[in-house]
Symmetry: C2
Subunit: 181 residues, 2 copies
DNA sequence: TTGCATATATCTATCTTAAGGTAGACGAGT
DNA sequence: ACTCGTCTACCTTAAGATAGATATATGCAA
């Protein structure tokens, strides 16, 4: 596998566990058995690397959302697909969504990075809003979608904090009815 | 006001904006017009200071929860009080809950600090669980309470990220019915 | 085929900045 | 005299970043 990809893998894992400031080029370098200075060959700065990382992560999430929902027609099935994607990510990697970490640190992050993180959240809200019943107004859809996304982000955070992954699992059951009502 | 309190105020604001790693003794010192070495007179280490901070913060939150709910008997009113406390905190300070920040960085924090942050989350879940209708089983109460707390934590995060505080405002309306059903 | 040139990917060595923390002096109030 | 709160000066560690040397593989021309 290419070194750049390996670096992104290492960075993703670390960042999803400890956030932007917990990741150092030295750690990443030792993860892939090179020296920290060599990391700059692949990514000029830490900000640039993280932007690449968010973009790769975002693409993967939306790919999976499409995959899991392409046969789902009913709103409740599409919402369930959304939950499933994040539940799978949490369980598979034992770490929260990358943008939960970056979102919480947002004001302290470099400008351009802030922008791509915000874009990720907006895209999530839009995806969920589109999944909601067509009878609702645009504003109401957006309100509910924000709630739904927020609940998932928060649930991942709590699940790791209290070490109980069921927090995320219980979400759909509890939340979906209020989304469709 | 005492210097120690002023330091905690400064630390709280900074930590709620940027997390544990974004706070330095030098910044805090300059916030209250002393030198960074003097901070160690009031708090021996950064970890100790942050533990004090979380304890002060936790006490304040639960004080306000009791205050806003002492006349509330019905579950929906007590849940509304919970939402109101965090909405007020978000709007007043323009920053998320302290433990959203610390919770997201949890694995990278010093051990003793981790413990008090977890305790805060547990206490929140318990408070909400107690507010739920008495007809529900203990397990079901806990599941719903976790969801409710998680949704609020996530909503604060998203509200700041997408710069739209209504994300938190809309929570109660959307969520409370599913809590009581 | 030989031989030089270029691109790729890494290295060593070093710089600068900032962090948490410590030791010990100093001055003001009791 | 003693305590409180602050100071100056310093230590150690780690971070992001840069410069320039080095090795290897690829491509191309004589």
């Amino acid at each position: 596998m290419k070194t750049a990809e390996k670096l992104l893998d290492a960075a993703e894992l670390r960042m999803r566990r400890g956030g932007y400031n917990s990741v150092s080029f030295r750690d990443l370098a030792s993860d892939v058995n090179i020296k920290s200075a060599s990391v700059h060959y692949h990514f000029p700065t830490k900000e640039a690397m993280t932007i690449s990382l968010v973009e790769r992560y975002s693409a993967r999430i939306f790919e999976q959302l499409d995959l899991r929902s392409n046969k789902a027609e009913r709103p409740e099935d599409r919402l369930a697909a959304f939950s499933a994607v994040y539940e799978a990510a949490l369980k598979h990697d034992g770490a929260v969504c990358l943008c939960v970490m970056l979102g919480s640190e947002l004001p302290g992050l470099p400008q351009d990075l802030q922008a791509v993180v915000k874009k990720f959240f907006e895209a999530n809200i839009e995806w969920v809003a589109k999944a909601l019943p067509s009878g609702l107004s645009t504003a109401e859809k957006r309100r509910r979608a924000s709630t739904y996304v927020a609940a998932h982000q928060g649930a991942m955070l709590m699940a790791v904090a209290v070490e109980d992954y069921r927090v995320l699992g219980g979400l759909g059951k509890t939340l979906v009815p209020s989304m469709l009502r």
